[in-house]
């Protein structure tokens, strides 16, 4: 078994003495910490050492957190193949772990470790210094055994970063609290989100819903006929963005140079051919296909994405929170294949397409491994966390 951590600093110290004082936070090697190895799990960045702190790493340290190391990750954080995300928290080696969420990685890692996983709204966290793959969908997610920790970290690291051009200039997020009246709480359930779950998981999720109803909340059945298009939109858009994003791995500024190339083109072909693993390479080839041979399909996927976002916004506006199943749909096939990777994240990737916040609560015993995933309109992170705490406490705080 390979080590859980790929890098542990000799002396882990915080630079500040703030609200996160003493909290141990694990990162992935795609989050820049000056001087730390940051290969993002890829040979395309072999031996790369970060030059500067990522904005969120710097803010964590300033708030008093101790960055305790980086954990083994999948190539560019895409999928969970080869990743040990979630384990540091489960083993108590860290109080929280930052896991890049491209299609649900932080949430499924949390589910696997039976802890909490949270993907903030797109645009809440600076992405400066985070080595990613799908710029319009990815976001640093949080894995932790304590819901309060999520809120505290979010407080410390979220917010405008003038160095990150991709951050939208949006008004401050929602007020977190305000009293929660259980009898007036409406929770939406999207029927189509249960399709594709096996019988055990369906039954488990219904059991979870029944427990919610007992807290006095009203369940509202909602319809989202095109819910099944989320994987399509994600894969087409994601592959194209990944293909563009990976253009920078040229074996010139970083990475390894494959020997013997006679010219520039050969240098690219050989070095890049050797750098990417099968899963990422498959994805990049699909991206090239959409970009260079079926550009219309990319645009079509962006139209579909537009419709999916609008529909999700309408549904979220009708209720306090939406409840969806959180399930690791890992098939029995080759976990490293592109098809299986997408199949596995079928329950989580909607939030990456829409940029919504999504919180996964650990499954109750006897629910067939189906956790509860709560989501709200983009920007409603604080309220979502508060409602998550309410519902989790309502079921007696049981994991």
């Amino acid at each position: 078994m390979e080590e859980l951590f790929v890098h542990r600093p000799a002396e882990a110290t915080a630079s500040g003495n703030g609200p996160l004082h003493g909290m141990k936070v694990a990162l992935q090697p795609n989050c820049s910490v000056a001087g730390w190895p940051a290969d993002a799990g890829s040979d395309a960045l072999a031996d790369f050492k970060a030059l500067e702190d990522a904005t969120i790493a710097g803010r964590l340290r300033q708030a008093g957190a101790v960055l305790c190391g980086t954990t083994r990750m999948s190539e560019f954080g895409f999928g969970l193949h080869g990743s040990r995300a979630g384990e540091a928290v489960r083993q108590g080696a860290a109080d929280a772990e930052l896991v890049l969420d491209l299609m649900g990685e932080s949430r499924l890692a949390a589910l696997r470790a039976s802890v909490f996983g949270f993907k903030p709204s797109y645009g809440r966290l600076s992405r400066l210094g985070i080595i990613g793959l799908i710029p319009s969908m990815e976001c640093a997610g949080l894995v932790t055994a304590d819901l309060e920790v999520i809120a505290k970290i979010l407080d410390a690291v979220a917010g405008a970063d003038e160095m990150d051009f991709s951050m939208p200039a949006e008004p401050a997020a929602d007020p977190e609290d305000g009293p929660i009246d259980p009898s007036r709480l409406t929770i939406g359930v999207i029927a189509e989100a249960l399709q594709g779950l096996d019988d055990d998981a369906q039954a488990g999720f219904r059991q979870t819903l029944a427990a919610i109803r007992e807290t006095g909340a009203t369940l509202l059945d909602l319809s989202f006929p095109e819910f099944s298009l989320f994987p399509l939109a994600h894969q087409v858009v994601g592959a194209v963005e990944a293909s563009s994003c990976a253009g920078r791995y040229d074996s010139v500024r970083y990475g390894r140079r494959a020997p013997g190339a006679k010219n520039w083109n050969e240098m690219y072909l050989r070095s890049r051919g050797a750098a990417f693993g099968p899963l990422v390479k498959s994805y990049l080839f699909q991206g090239a296909y959409f970009q260079f041979e079926r550009y219309g399909a990319f645009e079509a996927a962006c139209r579909i994405r537009s419709r999916l976002v609008a529909r999700m916004d309408r549904l979220a506006a009708q209720v306090d929170v939406l409840a969806l199943p959180a399930v690791d749909l890992a098939g029995s096939g080759n976990a490293a294949s592109l098809g299986d990777t997408y199949a596995r994240f079928g329950a989580t990737l909607f939030a990456n397409v829409t940029g919504q916040p999504a919180l996964v609560l650990p499954p109750c015993p006897g629910t067939g491994g189906a956790g509860l995933q709560l989501t709200a309109a983009r920007g409603g992170d604080g309220r979502l966390l508060a409602l998550g705490r309410h519902l989790f406490n309502g079921r007696g705080g049981k994991a």
């Binding site: 960045l45 010219n263 083109n265 399909a297």
Partner: protein
């Protein structure tokens, strides 16, 4: 109109007063004094004022004259008269006389011109319309109007005089002018060729000559002994401000001569050419070896109009405690400096530290620059306290310092960085401090260039061309050290920091030539392919010979002191190698391409990527520049098939919504309160730390094309 009687405007003098003359030319400018009309009439020789006076000129002539406008082409008849005292015009040579017109013929009218042609004011002390600067492209588009200006005409006439002087002198020295072909083979000059497609041999190309190098040497083998040509040459080089894609060079070659012959000949010739511009060149010209030039000025074309020579002070600091110098010397570096005498008033602490040390020296490639001002017998500097009294004494003596002097020094592990940066600082300071005398001309021969330069892969390449004779012939072509120590028998003529020309004694011995090719790593077959026809000639008793080429556009421009070489060329290309007058270069008809067999050229040789066009996986691999192993092909075929399915599905379900590319649109914005600046990570070199291959301060990459 009897033009045979015509006299030139500019040649009229007070001695012609009373004479009836016929003049013809252009209306340069006119002034109407209430019926009394004064016109500046201009022809090639100059300008004379002609007067239409209602008191003496017929009424119908005066009426016709009232319609005259600038640049009308006219002929007049009239009498030469002295001007009234007080109305003389010092701006024109005929300013003391004028011609009272009796007859006027308008030969051709002119539309209003796009810019004023006139350069001469009509009355003493006045400005002319033509004194405003005109956009150069407009001047080039209407070059025929531009050439009417006396200054441009004067440039061309004097260019002609200089060329005549060259021809007469060389003819007297027994040189024969021979024309060499324009349609020829590519020659080894190193720049890109202009190619001319052959219709008869479809798919084959002539090259326009970059220089007549091979032909002039063949003329020597052919026994001409002394040849010259004012040759048009063509180089498709990257655009630079003072360069033309076609240019004229004085090309010259002689047999049974040595370097001294060339020096004597060219010095005499150059002195005569400069004399046309009224410039006397001191002879003999200075001579400097390449090594000396680099050591003392940091340039192989040194500007010797001012001092500011380098002084080496490396040895003064072998035991220094100043850590920066210490580290540099430990890494085999050197330290050189310049004493800028008596300039400490203009070079304040602030200027030296904040401008030169922080900004200017780094922009010239130096990591830093050390400076010291000498005031009251003491050195003043931000680092003087790090130097020992012995070191300061050493500097004082080495530079011979006096109060008011400023020392600057550059230290670096790399010799070339030191001389290059200090050389650029030398020029920068000279111009800033006004140390460059305007009317001084300092010709110098630069000699003993290295014959070879090292290449990246450990070999050597010719500094000039492979036919240049080495200073000795006993070298070992396999010994790189030995090869790099060779000097060439070449010489450059440099005036005021500009290379006017250069040449060399050539190799005439077959065996030496073979050794040179061997040193360059060229095999028998490759040599034959590249230079076969040329080398064959040397199998038949080639005489010892050598020669030189002088850039005539550059030389004339320097003699006439024009701001660019375009001012001394009748129809030059502009800065982007285009001709605004004719519109060249231009697209041509498909039929013309077809006739030349150029339409399907691309299909014959595979361009990069062509081979990948057929197979869908190869194609994706190519466009994304990601290679794959044979055993990855089935996987990639499967993902491509899946992508096709997804694309079909996406197309089917697209709908009509506007596409979105992000869920949280970002307005373009600037980081508040920041200005563009180099990243500190680039400046301290840390950006390079993760690169797989680095050379100096750059990322190292494979060559762009084979």
């Amino acid at each position: 109109m009897q033009f045979s009687q015509r006299v030139y405007c500019g040649q009229l003098t007070p001695e012609d007063v009373g004479r009836q003359v016929l003049l013809a030319g252009w209306v340069d400018a006119y002034r109407d004094h209430g019926g009394l009309l004064f016109v500046h009439l201009r022809d090639r020789s100059g300008i004379v004022q002609i007067v239409f006076n209602p008191a003496t000129t017929a009424e119908d002539v005066c009426r016709q004259a009232a319609g005259l406008r600038a640049e009308y082409c006219v002929a007049v008849r009239g009498e030469v008269c002295p001007r009234l005292a007080g109305t003389e015009n010092p701006h024109i040579e005929t300013g003391t006389i004028e011609v009272m017109v009796a007859e006027l013929t308008v030969l051709a009218e002119s539309e209003p011109t796009p810019f004023a042609v006139s350069e001469k004011a009509m009355i003493a002390g006045a400005a002319t319309a033509g004194s405003d600067p005109v956009a150069e492209d407009l001047r080039l588009q209407f070059r025929y109007l531009d050439l009417r200006r006396p200054s441009m005409r004067d440039h061309l006439v004097r260019r002609h005089r200089i060329f005549q002087c060259v021809r007469e002198f060389l003819d007297a020295q027994g040189f024969v002018e021979v024309e060499t072909p324009m349609l020829t083979m590519s020659t080894p000059e190193g720049a890109r060729d202009y190619l001319v497609p052959s219709r008869v041999h479809a798919g084959s190309f002539y090259a326009l000559p970059q220089s007549p190098q091979l032909f002039k040497q063949l003329l020597m083998v052919g026994g001409l002994e002394r040849y010259f040509q004012l040759a048009r040459c063509f180089r498709d080089e990257d655009l630079r401000p003072n360069r033309q894609p076609e240019f004229t060079q004085l090309d010259l070659e002689a047999s049974f001569i040595d370097e001294e012959f060339i020096y004597a000949l060219i010095e005499e010739l150059t002195a005569r050419m400069f004399a046309v511009g009224g410039i006397a060149l001191a002879r003999p010209f200075a001579r400097m070896t390449w090594t000396e030039a680099m050591e003392t000025t940091g340039s192989d074309r040194p500007d010797l109009r001012f001092g500011l020579r380098f002084v080496d002070v490396t040895d003064l600091f072998v035991n220094t405690n100043y850590s920066i110098f210490k580290q540099i010397l430990q890494r085999g570096g050197c330290i050189k400096g310049i004493n800028i005498q008596g300039q400490s008033e203009k070079l304040s602490k602030n200027v030296l530290q904040n401008e030169y040390a922080k900004e200017i020296a780094p922009s010239f490639g130096a990591k830093g620059m050390t400076w010291m001002r000498v005031e009251g017998g003491r050195f003043e500097s931000n680092i003087v306290q790090y130097f020992s009294p012995a070191e300061l004494d050493g500097l004082r003596q080495r530079f011979g310092v006096a109060d008011g002097d400023v020392l600057i020094m550059v230290a670096d592990p790399s010799y070339s960085v030191v001389v290059s940066a200090l050389g650029q600082l030398r020029l920068h300071l000279a111009h800033r401090l006004g140390l460059v005398p305007a009317d001084r001309f300092c010709p110098v021969w630069i000699t003993e260039f290295p014959l070879f330069e090292p290449t990246e892969d450990g070999g050597v390449t010719s500094s000039h061309h492979p036919f240049t004779a080495p200073d000795r012939t006993d070298f070992d072509p396999a010994n790189i050290e030995d090869l790099l120590s060779l000097r060439s028998r070449s010489y450059d003529l440099v005036v005021n920091g500009e290379e006017l020309g250069g040449g060399s004694i050539r190799i005439s011995d077959r065996d030496v030539q073979r050794k040179i090719f061997a040193a360059l790593g060229l095999g028998e077959e490759e040599t034959r392919e590249k230079f076969g026809f040329f080398l064959r000639a040397f199998d038949f008793g080639a005489p010892p010979h050598g020669g030189l080429a002088l850039g005539m556009d550059r030389t004339v421009s320097m003699i006439l002191q024009t701001p660019s070489i375009r001012e001394v060329i009748a129809f030059p290309k502009n800065r982007s190698a285009a001709c605004p007058l004719t519109g060249a270069p231009s697209v041509v008809a498909r039929e013309q391409l077809a006739e030349l067999g150029l339409l399907d050229l691309g299909g014959r040789d595979l361009l990069p990527g062509d081979a990948q066009k057929d197979d869908p996986i190869d194609r994706l691999s190519w466009v994304s520049r990601i290679g794959f192993a044979a055993d990855e092909r089935p996987m990639l075929e499967a993902v491509r098939a899946q992508a096709e399915t997804l694309a079909d599905l996406a197309a089917e379900r697209a709908g009509t919504e506007d596409p979105i590319f992000t869920v949280a649109p970002v307005a373009n914005r600037l980081r508040p309160g920041t200005e563009a600046r180099p990243s500190p990570l680039a400046e301290n070199g840390r950006l390079l730390q993760s690169a797989p291959a680095v050379k100096g301060d750059y990322f190292k990459v494979a060559t762009i094309l084979e």
